[in-house]
Amino acid sequence: MKTSCVRPLTLALLLLPASLAAAPQEQPAASPNSVRYEIRYMDMHAAEVLAWDQCIQKARCRVAALTVNDSKVKGFLEVLAEPAVHEKIARALAKEDATPRTQRFQLLLMAASEKAGGASSDVPANAQKALADLKGFLPFKSYELLDTAWVSATQDRNADAHMVGRKGQNFRIAMRFRNVGSPADHSLFVDAFQLAVEPYATEPAGPDGKPDHHPGRELIDTTFGLKEGETLVVGTSKVDGVDEALVVLLTAVPAS
């Protein structure tokens, strides 16, 4: 009984101001609503910019990025916008965030020595400029190409390559990259790059005839940003007492 009286009065109260305000004004455009988008592969900032670019009236848009540490989801975009803008954002994200980025890397393992030697003519053309810059900058007199490798890597996944050096040494390069560029800018960030020498044995030097065992160890552990088409030089000196430096020329090969 009591509630049956309250409801009509509340309804009348709610309808009264609405009827007063409705007459002289036009009906506004569709009101903004908030939608959460799941970002799986794109860089969060790039996704944020992509969503923001879809907003025609910037004053009526709000974009928030939430990064999560999960293998399946990179993060979420919380977007407050009109329905038409949401449709554009959904289309753009469906196009750009559909598949993980893959990138091919060219790896050149070189030995740099302070002794004069012949010029290494086996260096591919795309790394010639980097090698020329290196020759003019570091005090080494010769560079010898030891091994080459091609790595096709998928973003956020580990990739590795095995390369052969001198005296039976084997090297392992482990790397992982993430996509940090917008769809137009193909920048990437290598968040793990390791060069390690694997365990190996050398020919017996002593009279006992037993081979010398060398444990493996890590030589380089670093991170860096890289642009598609750029060649970066990563190197270390004094490898296992040899007067040589180990140099890796890493090129992010552009997609043809």
């Binding site: 908030s34 990064t67 960030f189 694997e198 940003g225």
Partner: protein
């Protein structure tokens, strides 16, 4: 000629020169019509919103009545509260910021303008004695991590090639 005579002469001259002296003027109906036009033009907005204070007063009175009644009945305690339709909540996944390794609180960044460029990660350098956090893939044999102090130097050649050089202070010879 005194002043009064001069005023009468002036008045007479003005009346004689008046071009509308013979005009009979507006009729009574025309005067009423003009008055109606002027008054209606002025009072129209007042008439449109004239009842607004009355309605607002009535609305306020009804609001107070309903509120008082509801409180008196204890309606707030019995009515089920509505949950918010949507809010930006942190998903139940352990979050971490973009360019750090240590787990941290979630980073929720709201932009009302164009999102700013991200922190440049190009020249990021790890601490010298930092434990490696890089991928550990299947390896044919155990790889001992050298307990040596390492330093990294990053520089660019005049030709634009970037170089990262790792210096190991306590390199052991096998």
């Amino acid at each position: 000629m005194n002043r009064q005579t001069r005023d009468e002469q002036l008045r007479r001259l003005l009346r004689e020169a008046d071009p509308a002296a013979d005009d009979p003027g507006l009729s009574r109906e025309e005067i009423r019509h003009m008055r109606r036009t002027v008054l209606s033009a002025v009072s129209e907005p007042r008439r449109r919103w004239g009842f607004a204070p009355l309605l607002m007063g009535a609305a306020t009175a009804i609001l107070l009545l309903v509120l008082g009644w509801t409180l008196w009945l204890g309606g707030f305690s019995t009515a089920p509260s509505r949950q918010p339709v949507r809010e930006a909540v942190v998903p139940p996944i352990s979050p971490s910021p973009i360019f750090t390794v240590q787990p941290a609180a979630p980073t929720l960044r709201v932009t009302s303008e164009k999102p700013a460029a991200p922190r440049s990660a190009t020249h990021r350098r790890r601490p010298a004695s930092r434990k490696p956090a890089a991928p550990r893939t299947s390896s044919p044999g155990p790889v001992a991590i050298a307990e040596a102090e390492t330093h990294q130097i990053q520089f660019s050649t005049p030709g634009g090639t970037r170089i990262i050089w790792v210096l190991t202070a306590n390199q052991t010879t096998d």
